[in-house]
Each structure stands twice: as structure tokens, then as C-alpha cells.
Amino acid sequence: MAEKVVVRNLHKVFGPHPALAMDLLRQGMDKDRIFQQTGMVVGVKDANFSVDEGEIFVLMGLSGSGKSTLIRLLNRLVEPTHGQVLVGGNDVAAMDRRALVALRRKDMAMVFQSFALLPHRSVLDNTAFGLEVAGVDRKRREHRALEVLEQVGLKAFAGKKPAELSGGMQQRVGLARALAVDPSLMLMDEAFSALDPLKRTEMQELLLQLQKEHQRTIVFVSHDLDEAFRIGNRIAIMEGGRIVQIGTPDEILRNPSDEYVRAFFRGVDVKKYLVARDLAGADVLPLVHPTLDGRSDLLRARAQLQGLAARQGVVVETGGRLLGVVTQESLLHALESGATSLHGALVEGGGAARADLGLHALVARVVQSPLALPVVDGAGNYLGAVTQTQLLQRFVQDEATHV
């Protein structure tokens, strides 16, 4: 997929002599020492990432981690000290004023935490603001504004002043104002953080629904893990101005890069994000490989299971595709009844779980049968298996780390 935004070696230093601080950074001095020695604050340090066309990329971190600064570097509300910000191939950091203004009018829009609506303008005029600034005539911009207001469900409120609306409705106007200019890149700075939890979920759903209708590239700043996991295709976790990990929600959940990232999950019920893939153990069950000589496969498999004292095995083709599950009993039964291949020994109802099966459905299937449940990916390849014991152990572990 094409990359919409590419950020390379991006730095931001707040203070009177940023070049000096950059030198110190290059010498390897850390942010705290630089602050002590020079009083300058390193807001963003060596950020590198790219955002694909149509992707929702979440910048997550605690307050003061530099995420709001980083998102403002993308449209140069904050001037970068060093590095590149390529938006659609053009370097925003090196652009002259005129090109920058043109880019902001045409390609970018932003949604703010405090909504930042203009109180003296009606909802309609607020929504049409970006078009008005760009010089679109009144009739056309108001037509477009009404169109977008309808999308966010606020057409009936076009004549109101922002102060007459609730917080959730105000942010819908904020969203409509951004959508009105039909930007290819949307920047959302803690856009839903000021809303109550119910409204926040509602807005997240609205955003996802809008995204289904028209895929835009979105960079979304949040401090809320739930939100990041719900809407993010990929997440970058920031700490002290640095990006400490980038990955899909799954990758970050399964493989937190350090204590800081792990700390994010503390107190959060991560179980609800677990899917079959996360729980499947690759070495839970012995693998049985079918060969051309079917009869001997049965004997070999039985001997293999007996030798390991395993009750159950999985039959996997050479390419990695899962055929099914066999047990010592099913093998014996197949041998006695004269079956000629492992196919005859497969346990009935031993269908595998898809890798993205949610925890609830997974538990329901695992408790139905005393056997382990194999997990396959979208192509039917074997990933591992989940047993009841393993599931219980995982929960006990989680409880222990949460306390």
C-alpha cells in the first residue's frame, strides 16, 4: 500500500538554542540531562514511522510523552527542529509558507480535544470554515457543509451556536468541519478524550463507520488504550518524546517491547483483546505428518503418541495445512476397522478455530470437548492448539500480574 505520511529522524526542541540541544542529543546526552544543563525541553526525539494510505495510525502515550507535539509537527503547527515530514511525498518541514498554506487547505484537517469551534459563528459557518478560508463561494461551501453535517447527524442544528450544543454534538461539528474540506489526511488530537465514555464510544463508532464509507488516512492521538485498540490499525507508543514501539494492536499486546509498554496494560482488562492466535501454543500437541503409505502412517502415529504419552495429535500436511485431530483411541479404532490412511482416523467434530476468534467464543468451544482445540489461520494452516488447562493458566497468570 502507498505510504501517505513518512516521518524520518524528526526532532523537536523547545528553547532558545535548539541547535545546541541537537548537538548534545547527537553526543548521546539524554533528555533529562539536557534539561538540567540548558533548560531546553526535548519534545520529540528521533521519531521514525510511516502511515499507509487509508490507515488509522494511533499515537499513544501518557501526558507529556510528546504525542500532541508530534501530531502538530505533521502540519507544522509546531516547527520541526530537525528531520523530515513527508506528506504525499512533499516535505512539510522544508516547505515555504505559501505551499504550506495550500497543503493545509487542500490535504489536511485537524480535530481538537477542546473542539476549538469558533463561538461567534453558527454550526453551519463553523463547518464551512475551511472552505471559506480557501475562498470557496458561500453557496457552494454551505451546500457542502450541510452535506457533511447530515453525515454526522447534525443537519437540524446548522443555525445554532456551538455553545447551544452538548460536548458530543460540538465534537461532531469539529469532525464535520474537518470532513468538509475532504482531506486526504486527518489529524485527530485526543479528539474524543473530553467526552464521557458513552459519547466517546459513540464517536468512535461514527468514525469507524465514516471510515468504511470513505477510507481516509488518519493520525489519531490518544492516551486511552481501549480507544487505540478499537480504532487503530497500528499503534505507536510514545514515552518521553520517543516512540518506544510500533505495531498492530495484536503485536503490541503479545509482545510489549518494555516495562513502559507493559505498564499500559496494567489495570486494563486485556483479556477482551485476546484472540485464538494469542492463546494457541505451537508445541501443545505432537504433529503427525501423513505420507503416501497410509496404513503405516496409522501405526507410526499411534507409536508416536504412545511414546510421548500423549492422548491426542494433530495431522498437518507438508505445506502446513491442518487436516484434523487424531487420538490414540481413534487411531486404534481406525486400525481395527481397516482404514487405509490417517483420514480414516480423524476425530469427528474436530474442526479448528480461526486465528481471530474472540475469547468468548473460544472459551465456549474449548469447554465443549476434553480435547485440545487446534487453531488455523485464514488459509487453513496450523498455528497451534488451545487446551483447557492452558486457558486456565493464562487467566490465573493475568490475575496475578494485575494485583
Partner: protein
Amino acid sequence: MSDFLPLGEWVDRGVKLLIENDAGSLQRFGAAIEGLTEVLEQGLLALPVWLVAAVFVLTGLWRVGWKFALFCVACCVVIAGTGFWPQTMVTLALIVAATFLSLVIGLPLGLWVAKSDRVAAVVRPTLDFMQTMPAFVYLIPAAMLFGLGRVPGVLATVIFAMPPVVRLTSLGIRQVNREQVEAGITFGCTPMQVLVKVEIPGALPSIMAGVNQTIMMALSMVIIASMVGAGGLGNDVLASIQRLDIGLGFESGLAVVLLAIMLDRITETFGSQAPRRSLRERLGLARARKTQEQASQPP
């Protein structure tokens, strides 16, 4: 004992030097102000009493309400009835001229102070100086530079009355919500567009409070300016002091107070952003405010 720091002498010499070397442009400048004030004064005096009174009453009705409109009627009756109408008009002309000049200089200066910390560092203490220096003191150099009459009165008033509008304009602009300004920039505003579309509208209540304060200070100063012959109600106040004429003092003082109340109440309403009824609605010429549902429909 002689002063080792003869500041007064230096200022004295400076003003004299200015008069000797630059009399021509000073005169032209003075003539311009004289002309402006003269036109305003003659205009207001030429208008019939009932017309000027009607403007006060209707503006009061529009901006404040019918009770205040009645009060305006009473004010005009008292001022005209005590025979102070012409002097009040002269004073009003002085106020309008001085306020106009204060705003012409003060509003842009306020914006500049808001935008530049360096300018603010120079202007702030200057404003403090202008406001705390006893008002009479400005009259002396003003009178020396421009002679007696309206011009030194108006100029001294401008100096005295300008600080609030500068201060409150810069305060208002600086206090505009940061994210609102960012929103303006984000959607591609040029710096001028940010100023016109976001900052000035956002700062308007504060700016209008500054304008109101400037008008009030101009009123108090043009009374004092009668000491250099600016004329108007101040002349009567001054005369009453010199003659210890309690009656005259009360009547002329009352006219000042009534004029002040009318100007204050009317101008202070321009700062609030609350929706208000139009004059037509107030007079019952138009139907009262549309219902909420109708109002919320898009055009």
C-alpha cells in the same frame, strides 16, 4: 538646595525645542484636530434637540431595554430643561473626537502589543505612565504646543483615555483560546485571516470593554480639559468652582453624570455576545423572536 537632577528643566527645554523647530507640522496636525472637532461640534449643535435625544432613546431601547429608554428620555429632559443642552453637545463632540483618535491609535497598537512581546515590554510601562501621571499635567505641554482651545484638550484626552483600549485589546487577543487559533492555522488561514476570522472575533468582548473604558475616561478628561479652554460642560463646572456657585455646580455636574450614564450603559452592551432582539422587535414592528424550532432550521 538646587536639584541635582533637573528633569523638569530638560522636559521644558525639549518641548520648547520642539516648538521652535517643528512649528509647521505641529500647526497642520493641530488644524486637523481642530477641524474634526469643529465639524462634530457644529453638527451636533445644528441638529434639533429632539433628534439627538431620539437617537439616545432609540439606541437605549435597542441595546438595553424600554426601562433604560425611559431613563434616557428623563436624562434629555433634565439636561435640556436646565439649559445645559448646548454645552453637553460641545462636550459630546470633544468626547467623540478624542475617542475616535484614541481608537484609531489604540486598536492597532493593542494588536501590535498582543503580537510582539518586545513591543509589549515598551508599551506597557508607557501606558502605566500615561494613566498614573496626574491628568492636569498633560494640559501644560499640550497648551504650549497648540495654544489654548479644543486641540490641547482633545490631545490631552487622547493620551489619558487611550491606555484602556490598548490594554484590553492586547489582553483579549492574547486570551483567545489556543486551540481555536490552531484550528484557524490548521485549516489554512494566513496570519491576516487568523486575526480577522478567529482572534478579533474571539477578543471582541474584551476589546469592546476597552472601548467603553476609553469613552468613560475621555468624558472625565474633557471636563478637566476646560482648563485650557476646550469648552463644553467643563467650563460651567470650572466657573462654579471659581464663583463657589453651588447651584451651577450641581446642574452642570448632573449633566455630566447623566451623559456618562447614557454613554456607559449603551456602549457596554456592545461587548456581550448574548443574542438580543432587534430594534424592530423591541418596537413591536416585527414579530417576536422565532420559536427555537424555527430558528434552528438551516436557511
